[in-house]
């Protein structure tokens, strides 16, 4: 009975190499699976399993028409899924399938090249979705695996152990690392060469420009970091940490969208921002969100300090820059938690905030009509109506949940009367619809709420799971007033350290069930701090940091031409280093052989005919034949040569210790001429 491992070891070299290659490919593709269409993952997985089975059972590869068939199917399916063959997502799908199909014709070792190059594109595409430390580590392993496969493919003799190829690949990577560091530090950072295709934006999670039921649900489950904040002085209360994102004012029954006012800019209501009280100063490191949005605390009257961008404020108090943020961005801002804004008297523009789509949510409209008819609110300016709606949320059996299920056409009706459960998005949307039905101007504000402090480095972390939607209602004499209906339903969601945990899957439960919460929190804090360092030093390495580096190196007014000069200078130095390495390589010759070669040179100079590669004994014989056995110098040299030969067969330790003595003696010997 052979055990399976033994069987693997007995496989012929080609099968072993193929299995290793398949493993590397799987490792490269695996992180992408969640971004790929399901059919693509399944097809590639099946093809690779098939190839592995063929390799293990030593069966012949399928005929070429199989490949063509699969290829045509793939292209068709890609067209069907993405509606195009161009662009990032379709390209990624195609590359993955091509990679899998290529393994079916891995006949010659040179086929490894195609796999190698395709894999590099795959690795880079991983970075579209994540540039975290974890991704970097995984891709480093992938790189080592690919290099190992390639080195192995160029060892044509016998069946070299993979570990040997891995060692060579590893040392090459180690030697290549300084070059990487240099180029990374000094290669001039350029602006994008042309417009980034739009589909690059959809991949990463973040706040969205529009709001649809279920959209923020996926965010709430996403624990990745949206931004990091360092407060100067005491941080504000948790319940004041509202980071303002897009303000959504147009509702078509399904989607909330930002207001695109038909009014010219001069006629639009001014922000009319009034601030008081003590300001909060802080520094934000914003993860790239692929949007032109700066996220700032409510409310920030003055533009934050940042480089490379021009910030401006919308009438709805949101801060924008002129192009999407594709890089880590750091800025400093001053905000006032105590503020008010908006017109104090009714103006024309407020009409936009009362519109509702026709024919949606009839029961909600009816409820509003009933409330309007209620004599208690006859003389109300809106304050009491808002309070009444909040009271309804508080006491009407409404529940905050992350898994409300799919809502139908009349989402507000379903929320108010049928399901009575949802998360901030459902609550805010239904709340605003009801207020509008009550003839109170209202709108939805999205952004982030809360955050937590990392005890290791003191930074505050705001995660995608802190994404939030709340409401603003306009009240005569007070302007726009923030109302957070979610706080009425689930007071714990807003303003406390307790985060609503996303429901854990079975596996996570099994893995993390036994870890104490405090330990888990600590581990996460350390991990976040490490990640933060990674972000600040690697991902946030921009042209400005680059020029600062030059300044520290002593350049007066660094420009990117200086970077090129520095790079060229270092390349010249490196070439000299390479020459030195070659020299060292030559000197690294075995010292015994070097000594013998020196002796041979002296003897040849003295006219002793020597065959190449003569052993010392033969050299001595030749020398005695030339000078005669009585020649005193020759006798001593002959004696020395014999001892040199004896040393060659001594144990290695003795060779090491006794060679220097022979070397010294060599210098003292008198050579005949």
């Amino acid at each position: 009975m052979l055990n399976p491992l033994h069987h693997l070891r007995l496989l012929p070299r080609d099968s072993r190499d193929t299995l290793f290659m398949l493993g590397v490919i799987a490792w490269v593709v695996l992180p992408q699976v969640s971004h790929l269409p399901l059919w693509c993952s399944l097809l590639s997985g099946a093809v690779m399993l098939w190839r592995g089975w063929l390799a293990v059972t030593l069966r012949p590869l399928p005929a070429r028409w199989w490949l063509w068939l699969l290829l045509v199917l793939t292209v068709g399916a890609t067209l069907f899924t993405h509606k195009t063959l161009l662009g990032r997502d379709a390209g990624l799908t195609l590359i993955v399938v091509l990679l899998a199909l290529k393994t079916l014709e891995l006949r010659a070792r040179r086929d490894a090249f195609v796999v190698f190059f395709l894999s590099f594109f795959m690795m880079l595409s991983n970075f579209f979705f994540s540039q975290s430390l974890l991704t970097a580590g995984a891709m480093l392993i992938a790189l080592l695996g690919l290099l190992t496969a390639l080195v192995n493919a160029h060892m044509p003799v016998g069946k070299p152990p993979l570990l040997q190829a891995a060692r060579i690949a590893g040392s090459m990577t180690l030697l290549g690392a300084p070059i990487m560091v240099l180029l990374f530090l000094l290669f001039p950072r350029l602006a994008p060469l042309w417009g980034v295709p739009s589909d690059a934006m959809s991949g990463r999670s973040g706040l969205s420009a529009t709001m649809q039921v279920g959209n923020i649900a996926s965010l709430a489950l996403d624990d990745s970091i949206a931004m990091r904040i360092r407060f100067e002085g005491a941080p504000p209360r948790q319940s004041d940490l509202y980071f303002r994102g897009p303000v959504l004012s147009i509702f078509d029954g399904r989607n909330w969208q930002p207001l695109r006012s038909g009014l010219p800019a001069q006629l639009r209501p001014l922000p009319n921002l009034r601030v008081q009280g003590a300001p909060v100063n802080y520094q934000v490191t914003l993860e790239p969100n692929q949007r032109p949005w700066l996220l700032l605390l409510d409310a920030t009257p003055n533009a934050p300090l940042l480089t490379g961008f021009e910030a401006r404020m919308t009438p709805e108090l949101q801060w924008l820059v002129e192009r999407p943020i594709t890089d880590l961005l750091r800025y400093t801002a001053r905000s006032y938690p105590d503020f008010s804004h908006g017109p104090l008297r009714p103006v024309a523009g407020l009409q936009d905030y009362l519109e509702l789509p026709f024919g949606f949510n009839p029961r909600t409209l009816q409820l509003a009509a009933e409330m309007r008819r209620d004599p208690r609110y006859a003389a109300d300016d809106g304050t009491q109506l808002v309070a009444a709606v909040l009271q309804r949320l508080r006491s009407g059996g409404y529940v905050y949940t992350l898994e409300p299920g799919v809502y139908g056409r009349d989402s507000a009706d379903e929320f108010w009367f049928d399901r009575k459960e949802g998360f901030c998005e459902h609550i805010a949307s239904s709340f605003v619809i009801l207020l509008r039905a009550l003839k109170l101007p209202a709108r939805v504000v999205t952004g982030y709420q809360g955050g937590e402090q990392n005890p290791v480095d003191g930074f505050w972390t705001v995660r995608q799971s802190d994404a939030h939607a709340w409401a603003e209602v306009w009240l005569s004499g007070r302007g726009w007033v923030r109302v957070d209906p979610t706080a009425a339903v689930a007071p714990g969601r807003v303003g406390s350290l307790q985060r609503l945990q996303a429901p854990r899957g079975v596996i996570t439960e099994a893995l993390l069930g036994n870890v104490s919460p405090a330990l888990a929190l600590n581990l996460r804090a350390v991990w976040d701090a490490v990640n933060n360092r990674w972000n600040q030093s690697v991902l946030n390495y921009t042209q400005r940091t680059q020029l600062n580096l030059l300044k520290n190196l002593g350049f007066e007014s660094p420009s990117w031409e200086d970077l090129i000069y520095l790079l060229i200078g270092i390349v010249v130095l490196a070439s000299l280093g390479g020459a030195a390495w070659t020299l060292r390589d030559r000197l690294r010759q075995d010292p015994w052989l070097r000594l013998l070669a020196q002796a041979a040179k002296r003897l040849q100079k003295a006219g002793v005919p020597l065959a190449p590669n003569s052993p010392p004994r033969r050299m001595a014989e030749q020398m005695h034949a030339r000078f005669g056995p009585e020649h005193p110098a020759a006798q001593r040299i002959g004696d020395w040569l014999l001892r040199l030969e004896a040393l060659r067969y001594a144990p290695p330790a003795a060779q090491h210790s006794r060679l220097p003595a022979l070397q010294r003696e060599f210098k003292r010997l008198r050579w005949p001429t």
């Binding site: 040179r110 090249f113 190059f117 590099f120 594109f121 690795m123 880079l124 970075f127 579209f128 540039q131 991704t135 970097a136 891709m139 790189l143 290099l147 390639l150 080195v151 493919a153 160029h154 060892m155 044509p156 003799v157 016998g158 070299p160 060579i168 690949a169 090459m172 990577t173 030697l175 290549g176 690392a177 300084p178 070059i179 990487m180 180029l183 990374f184 290669f187 350029l190 994008p192 060469l193 980034v196 690059a200 790239p288 594709t326 890089d327 690697v538 991902l539 946030n540 390495y541 390479g578 390495w581 070659t582 390589d585 030559r586 690294r588 010759q589 075995d590 052989l593 190449p612 590669n613």
Partner: protein, 328 residues
């Protein structure tokens, strides 16, 4: 002398002609030596097609990193570039410092395959992987690894097309290790020569008749008389042709013709006796006869132009005769 005698026509293939001219001139400059140490001066390096593809890949990765502003993409691109650079040096170092010794080849017959042994000597303290040797211009590679501070021997075959003393054709050593992105090679013209005998004629007719020994002319028997009359008991090593099968069948033991008795005549091999018009065909038949006579254990002599080799037999005689046939 050359193994590749057909040069491209200067008018039909001007580029190929110039290239061939250049290669001939360039090869002629190389020293003839049987021990060849590879140094910076005689090891050449160029990127391969996959190497150029890697360059393009690097460029695409760089542009993607710039366009999507991926700092991790920069890291990947630069690490890969660094590895390729290191690989280039490793590739060059695989051949640099290697010493190749030619093992003198044995003489061969025209049309047979001559095996050239090459001893590779690695004085470095690390293994040199994936070194291939081949005749210059052929694509039959013999691959080997040379362990640290050790030797390895590879064999390269070539088929000489004409008889004579040929110089061993130019050899080339090549490696693509470690990534296959660069081709590092060298060209070596060994000084050793290989002796090529004429091709023995297949199914050559029987040996010509002997001449009466000098001074014994009267006793010369006429053609067709029974000249092999002495017999003796079979001795180990007697060629089968000497066995008298009829007698053996009757006597129940093997009986051989006594060659001492046979050699009343001297067997002289001469071009005239072949009855062939073409000199090369004559040599071919003479070659076959030499082998035949040697196999039968006969004494034989060779007259070739002004050269005369006295009748004898044995390995030395065979060599002497074949060499004369090869070089005349």
């Amino acid at each position: 002398m050359s193994v590749a005698p057909s040069w491209p026509h200067p008018l039909l293939h001007p580029v190929a002609h110039v290239r061939a001219q250049f290669q001939r001139w360039w090869q002629a400059r190389l020293p003839l030596t049987d021990s060849f140490t590879l140094t910076q001066r005689n090891v050449y390096i160029l990127p391969t097609r996959p190497g150029l593809m890697l360059g393009v890949t690097l460029l695409v990765l760089l542009v993607a990193s710039i366009n999507y502003q991926l700092n991790l993409g920069y890291l990947l691109t630069f690490l890969l570039a660094g590895c390729s650079l290191v690989a280039m040096h490793v590739c060059h170092a695989t051949l640099r410092g290697l010493t190749m010794h030619l093992i003198a080849p044995d003489p061969v017959f025209t049309g047979a395959t001559a095996i050239i042994g090459i001893n590779l000597e690695n004085r470095r303290q690390s293994t040199r992987f994936g070194i291939g040797l081949a005749l210059l211009g052929s694509s039959h590679w013999s691959w080997t690894d040379v362990p640290a501070q050790a030797n390895a021997t590879v064999h390269v075959a070539f088929k000489p097309e004409r008889r004579g003393l040929h110089r061993v054709p130019a050899l080339t050593a090549e490696t693509h290790f470690p990534l296959g992105t660069f081709r590092v090679w060298t060209v070596w013209r060994p000084a050793a020569q290989v002796l090529v005998y004429p091709a023995p004629e297949p199914h050559a007719p029987a040996l010509p008749l002997g001449e009466p020994r000098a001074g014994d002319a009267a006793a010369a028997p006429g053609p067709g008389s029974g000249d092999y009359d002495g017999i003796r008991a079979y001795r180990r090593g007697d060629p089968l042709k000497l066995v008298v099968w009829k007698k053996a069948a009757r006597a129940n033991e093997l009986v051989s013709r006594d060659t001492q008795q046979v050699q009343r005549h001297e067997l002289w091999l001469e071009p005239q006796k072949t009855g062939l018009p073409q000199p090369e065909q004559q040599l071919s038949r003479l070659c076959a006869w030499v082998l035949q006579a040697e196999q039968q254990g006969l004494d034989y002599g060779l007259r070739l132009g002004g050269l005369e080799i006295k009748p004898a037999h044995g390995e030395a005689q065979k060599r002497r005769c074949l060499q004369a046939l090869a070089l005349c």
